[in-house]
Symmetry: C2
Subunit: 251 residues, 2 copies
């Protein structure tokens, strides 16, 4: 049986990430959420607040993935150019979304009213619908296979929550982890064999240095739980055979 693999890409939009000012948290957050939806994050690009950079990334990534997520650049200020750039990438005009206007109007009724900059957040590429924002006023935007999300991680989280279960995906990728107080370079052949002997798994090796000792966590990934379990069992036995007891779940 071959299973269709569903992939997504992510474009993180923002000078604040490229300047080092802000530590990105959306890559890990969206990757983890996608796994649960049965969708794999296949590639990420971080691009500047520049139209041509956004257009290039959006057009490449949406063409070769089932879904494209973007984060950042949908606020009310001059540096928020994501909507315009994505409309340009799609070759459609930017229009006001009536429902977004109504939502913003309600949200700002008790917060000083809906001025021009705030109205900007109701602008969408023509043909878009909205992603509910459970944290603040301005909604996310869904157009074609593109999901345009906020940059602030807790607002992104609320939008992901609103999308949960609505995207078609395949089998989730499961992972099983074991840890071992060993230099990965001592057991590299053994890891390579374990991956080769279990078709359909991939094994990642993640070394660390802790409490004055070297160790590594080995992560077995597969869509088939039984296959992942068998691989972990065999890898555990192989490590213990060379005198390296493992810690289930990782160190």
């Amino acid at each position: 049986m071959t299973t269709r693999i569903w992939t997504a890409a992510l474009a993180v939009i923002g000078d604040e990430i490229l300047s080092g000012r802000t530590q990105d948290k959306n890559i890990a957050q969206i990757a983890t959420w996608l796994n649960v939806q049965g969708i794999r994050l296949a590639e990420v690009r971080v691009v500047a607040d520049k139209t041509e950079a956004i257009v290039e990334a959006v057009n490449t990534l949406r063409a070769r993935n089932d879904y494209l997520f973007t984060t950042g650049g949908i606020g009310p200020t001059h540096d928020d150019i994501t909507v315009n750039a994505i409309a340009e990438a799609l070759g459609v005009p930017v229009v006001f979304h009536p429902q977004a206007l109504a939502m913003l109007d309600a949200y700002y009724a008790s917060r000083g009213g809906l001025n021009e900059p705030r109205k900007r957040m109701a602008r969408v590429p023509e043909g878009a619908d909205l992603i509910e924002n459970r944290m603040s006023g301005a909604p996310g935007i869904h157009v074609g296979n593109i999901f345009i999300m906020a940059g602030v991680p807790h607002i992104t989280a609320g939008m992901l929550d609103a999308l949960t279960g609505t995207l078609e995906g395949g089998l989730p990728v499961l992972s099983r982890t074991i840890g071992c107080w060993v230099a990965e370079s001592e057991v590299a052949d053994l890891l390579r064999s374990a991956e080769k002997n279990h078709d359909g798994v991939s094994i990642g090796s993640y070394p660390f240095f802790r409490e004055g000792r070297v160790g590594a966590n080995f992560v077995v990934r597969a869509t088939d739980a039984a296959l992942a379990d068998t691989c972990i069992t065999d890898l555990t036995a192989a490590l213990e055979e060379v005198g390296r007891p493992v810690v289930a779940g990782g160190i």
Copy 2:
């Protein structure tokens, strides 16, 4: 006077980032370090442990930036394919670097000796030289305009330290920050004017919600310190004129 702008790209290589298992820290770390060298991080791609994905990213990014940094995939295990993929991108063979072999031999002399997986870490694209690793045995690699670094952030940090001051760059981008307890949507026009009135600055607006109130930090970036200072002074005055006192240095 126009100043040449030096740019770098970063390719973060690793399934562990795309799966959400590991929170990337190298983007912010390398961005910050590059700023000090007078080099701007212009774009980042996160790619899977797949040869074709790495080759595509490396060839695109090295062609349109002064420098390309990569992180990840230079360890001893089967999933460490960065060196082979970059050699393929460059169209050169992979060779053992004698000095790297000697360094690894010395490092592993008291750690069980230099086995085949460990020797893998002395492999480089032909024509490369080494980047000192001040934290552990395996060096980084410099070939053409590419700097191949470790994935583990503290090892990357040691390699960056070894490179400090060795790369040609331009004027560092300086930043000045002020904070204000205001919704950015209330002062969006004022920010736009401040940027327009000071040619050569860019202003980023970074909203937050804290202690039950909304606020924002405004970051003025420029290569000219006097220009950044003037812009901050004018922006501060404009905000205070509309009854919004600012906090120097940000909130």
